[in-house]
Amino acid sequence: MRKLFVMAAMVATAAAMAAALPATLAAQETHATANIPRAADGHPDLTGVWQGGSNRIGTWEDTNSGDGPLGESGPITPYAVKGPQPKPPYQAWAAAKVVEEYNKRGIDEPMVKCLPPGVPRMTLMGLFPMQIVQTPKTIVMLFEAFHVFRIIPIGPDVKHPDDLDPSYMGDSIGHWEGDTLVVDVTGFNDKTWLSGVGTIHSEKLHVVEKFTRVDENTIVYEDTVEDPEVLTGPWTRHGTIMLRPGTRIREYECAENNVDEQRYQDLKKDPSLYERKPPDAPK
């Protein structure tokens, strides 16, 4: 009788612990039965207003009111990616340039001039919302920051135009692979950063992004970056893009009071003010 009681207590404790753990373990069960909003043509519908680079479920205010450095708050999606993502595998000469810029704390940041951040940097820029409008043959992504938009023709036979000029955001085309939207981006200029400070690339940059809406709140996201000029091989990261009910894109006109360009020029007259000093300055 006592053994039974102990066993029952253990089962109850295990159940209580399982219930209290983050819901990652339950994800396998919920995935199969998740309610994925679908368009009339049967594909998952990505239409909505979203926050990239987040793994929290809820409204913008509920999920961005934390006290930590990124301000994250609220419940975490069962599809959250675990652990830090890999960094870009730079060739030695390019790595040296990244370090050089890192030691200057990113004073050459292209966004200081209100220029578009490029892809995939824009997709994961969680400070500002993005709106996706999905139609069967065209998906449009509208980003609050910098008035950037991406127009993505969709179809199994869609090809990049043959008259591309190098551009900040590149040229995007897409097709469906099952429930995953695969977006192929090429035609970049070399004036943006891939991700963090100094993460240079060349015009040979090629990006493939995958968007899979897995439930009401979550798009599972994957990007693969290739650039034979600067990287030793492909660079792949995973993340989530979260629905933000009630959020609308507002106007963000970066040029209206941009004091940074002049401030950075003034600072460059005395680099000792901002440059990293050893031991904080890697070689």
Binding site: P22, T24, A80, K87, G106, I107, M125, R250, Y252, D260
Partner: protein
């Protein structure tokens, strides 16, 4: 039931899940401002610029001798503030007495980056991001070379 070690374990899992490179880096912070120079100042708001790419809060700070210096505090763009509950000209306006915590400019002077504003009634709101989210972070974004 011993909850304490379990809660620590859950917090550790959440920390791992949430860990990611700062993806919405604030470029100004590390270049212009120094996280080793925290400042906390109290004064009367003379002006607020609800502008892009940064809002600016100006407060008149009186020193022990009664001399007034106008400090500028840089903050988030207005769209970011509105989404976390700030209301233009309601939450904070010229004439209000506030305490602002932030970090001073590397070049010195009465210029700082705001983090948190405390209002006269004691409530607090974040007006700007934490440091270290825009100057490159703890290490350069380079994968370690493969071990051979």
């Amino acid at each position: 039931m011993r909850w304490k070690p379990f809660a620590t374990c859950a917090a550790g899992v959440i920390a791992v899940l949430a860990a990611s490179a700062p993806l919405w880096a604030h470029h100004s912070f590390g270049v212009v401002y120094d996280e080793k120079k925290p400042v906390t100042l109290t004064g009367v708001i003379s002006k607020i610029e609800w502008t892009n790419p940064h809002s600016f809060l100006f407060i008149d700070v009186k020193d022990a001798d009664g001399k007034v210096t106008t400090w500028s505090f840089e903050g988030y763009p207005p769209t970011v503030l509105y989404r976390t509950g700030w209301k233009r000209d309601v939450t904070m306006k010229a004439g209000d007495n506030v305490t602002v915590f932030g970090w001073q400019a590397r070049a010195g002077g009465p210029h700082a980056h705001a983090r948190q504003v405390t209002f006269a009634n004691g409530t607090k709101k974040y007006f700007g991001p934490a440091p270290g989210t825009g100057d490159g972070g703890a290490a350069p974004q380079i994968a370690p070379p493969p071990a051979n």
